[in-house]
């Protein structure tokens, strides 16, 4: 069965903040409802907690880390779902049920499956 990664882009929020509780519950509801289709998922801490890692030159070179998000944007990557779907149309239907779809956007990317 083909897999799609549904990346959620929303306001850069702290999901543990009390005011997010209601929205988080919406996501949980989606997770329960589509448990059969969702193979993996994660919610991310805000981008302020992010560290960008680069290796200078080639492998083994000095590790350079940068604080904060890679790019400052209004909508940040805040989580993902790995979903199974027959084709893009089914994947889009499922993605449209993720709360991020109306609070922000969901990017659906086909996953390359190992043979």
């Amino acid at each position: 069965m083909p897999q799609y990664l549904a990346l959620t882009y929303t306001a850069d929020v702290d999901w543990w903040a009390p005011e997010q509780a209601e929205e988080l519950a919406e996501y949980r509801k989606f997770g329960v409802e589509y448990a059969e289709k969702v193979k993996a998922s994660a919610v991310l801490h805000p981008t302020a907690t992010a560290t960008v890692v680069r290796v200078e030159g080639a492998r083994g070179g000095p590790i350079v880390t940068t604080d904060g998000p890679y790019a400052e944007t209004k909508e940040a990557l805040t989580g993902y779902y790995l979903i199974e779907a027959e084709d893009l149309e089914e994947a889009i239907k499922i993605a449209a049920e993720i709360p991020a779809a109306w609070g922000g956007a969901v990017e659906v990317r086909p996953v390359i499956l190992a043979k």
Partner: protein, 485 residues
């Protein structure tokens, strides 16, 4: 000879679409199917001018294209086998890097079916060798040709895949021109005002997305149609608009886009004759097309609606367009859509014998509805012109203030000001209109003539009757969708 060659090429191009549609379903891969049809086309171009077009060109091309597809698969298998001699890592990388590559045999092709086809082809060749004259004699008895109904479904599948909402509008247009109209990337680049390289890239990416993201090759179910049809209709309509009213500069392509768009509109209407939207699109295109012979004079100058020789309008197209519009309206239970309204406006113009007999109040009403259903600057400008034609020039000028300024906006404002004998201001507006369009714009010389006339009036302030109104819609379909890339 050349003419015969052109006729052959045209047949091949048009039949090619149907064959492609069927082949994509059979082999499950757009690229493979296109390559095969391309090779079959070359074969036909080589053979037909000499042997004549076979009695059933589609059957000939179908059989040849399928055989070519099998040839390509064989070649690819041989290539893949050689590559397997390399390290497994390289092989793995190749697959990873090229997930939507032309050949994914496991998924894309049912080998058993391929072998069946081969048997069919072998049998066919044997029959031909025995002296059976036309290929379809041997094949229509076999399993290699599909029924008409199946072919119709294949065409619909192809149309809906090319116009899938997950593809960007310009990509839909490019795919439609490539797969539905059989144009070359160079021709498409000319139409979309871009480069061949960019067009080829766009097409490659589109095919990769169709394969990798699995955009399904199927006709939407009846309840899905209302969501899916607008994208298809928009592609056809924007093709026609691009061919009919080139917006930026002179057209340098040899393709009659209007004819292509009408052909697709006819096709979609035939395939989904009970759907009001494709019917309205066809009506709109035919009604607009009916005026085409009068749009340009013998010296190639644009003739505005009020100056057109209406005896040049194609009455047959008008009759058919009006009948289709009525049919479409009868079939829809909702508020009229943008195509129905634009067709109704065109029909209203077609109905009357002269510009002065136009029922402008009705046209104002239709534009108001159009701006409710599908607001656009073009439709707003149409509304302003119609208001002015009812005599309310002040109202029209006020409405103009709320519309984004374009060359056409300035040209219309100039005409409205001239109506009020403000010739100097009219000249200024026309200067602005001329400044923001390229020198080879089709309306350029018309606007220059108006500028000269208004300059004359400005310099000779005798009480002059208002010049003949000349600011009517240049024949663009009112809510023209730009083919911006």
């Amino acid at each position: 000879m050349d003419q015969q060659y052109d006729a052959v090429a045209e047949t091949i191009r048009i039949e090619g679409t149907r064959i492609l549609a069927t082949l994509i379903r059979t082999v499950g891969d757009v690229q493979l199917a296109e390559d095969a049809v391309q090779e079959a086309t070359l074969a036909a171009l080589g053979a037909w001018p000499v042997t004549g077009v076979p009695p059933e060109p589609r059957a000939w091309l179908t059989v040849t294209a399928r055989r070519k597809a099998i040839d390509i698969i064989r070649r690819e298998r041989a290539r893949a086998a050689k590559e397997r001699d390399g390290s497994e890592l390289i092989e793995l990388n190749r697959r990873d890097l090229d997930p939507a590559g032309a050949f994914d045999l496991d998924r894309a092709f049912d080998l058993e079916r391929a072998f069946d086809l081969e048997r069919a082809f072998d049998a066919h060749r044997a029959l031909v060798a025995e002296g059976a004259r036309a290929p379809e004699c041997s094949l229509s008895a076999g399993a290699a040709l599909d029924s008409d109904a199946m072919q119709q479904d294949d065409l619909l599948r192809l149309i809906f895949t090319c116009c899938h909402p997950s593809l960007s509008p310009p990509t839909r247009v490019a795919l439609a021109l490539r797969t539905l109209c059989g144009l070359s990337p160079a021709q498409i680049a000319g139409v979309l005002l871009t480069t061949e390289v960019a067009t080829t890239k766009r097409l490659v990416r589109a095919r990769q997305k169709i394969a990798a993201a699995r955009i399904p090759y199927r006709v939407p179910s009846e309840p899905e149609l209302p969501d899916r049809l607008p994208a298809v209709c928009a592609v056809i309509h924007s093709l026609y608009t691009a061919g009919h009213a080139p917006l930026e500069g002179e057209t340098a392509y040899d393709v009659d886009l209007c004819a292509e768009a009408i052909r697709l509109a006819e096709l979609l209407h035939t395939l989904l004759s009970d759907q009001p939207m494709p019917t309205a699109v066809l009506a709109l295109l035919l009604l607009t097309e009916s005026r085409r012979p009068a749009r340009v004079d013998t010296s190639g100058e644009v003739v505005t609606l009020d100056q057109q020789d209406r005896t040049l309008w194609d009455r047959d197209l008008i009759t058919r367009g009006v009948a289709l519009l009525n049919d479409s309206l009868n079939r829809s239970d909702r508020q009229a859509d943008a195509y129905q309204l634009q067709a109704a406006i065109a029909a209203e113009h077609a109905r009357v014998p002269s510009y002065s007999a136009t029922d402008w109040r009705e046209i104002v009403r239709l534009y108001e509805l159009l701006n409710q259903v599908s607001p656009s600057p073009a439709a707003q400008l149409g509304h302003v012109v119609a208001i002015a034609e009812t005599g309310e020039v002040d109202t029209a000028l006020n409405l103009l203030d709320a519309i984004p300024q374009t060359a056409r906006w300035h040209a219309i404002r100039a005409e409205l000001l001239a109506r009020q004998s403000h010739y100097a201001e009219a000249v200024t507006e026309l200067t602005k209109a001329l400044e923001c369009t390229p020198a080879n714009h089709p309306e350029q010389s018309h606007r220059k003539r108006r500028q000269a006339l208004f300059t004359h009036h400005a310099n000779n302030p005798t009480p002059h009757p208002a010049p003949p109104s000349d600011h009517t819609q240049p024949e663009a379909a009112p809510s023209a969708t730009r083919l911006g890339l």
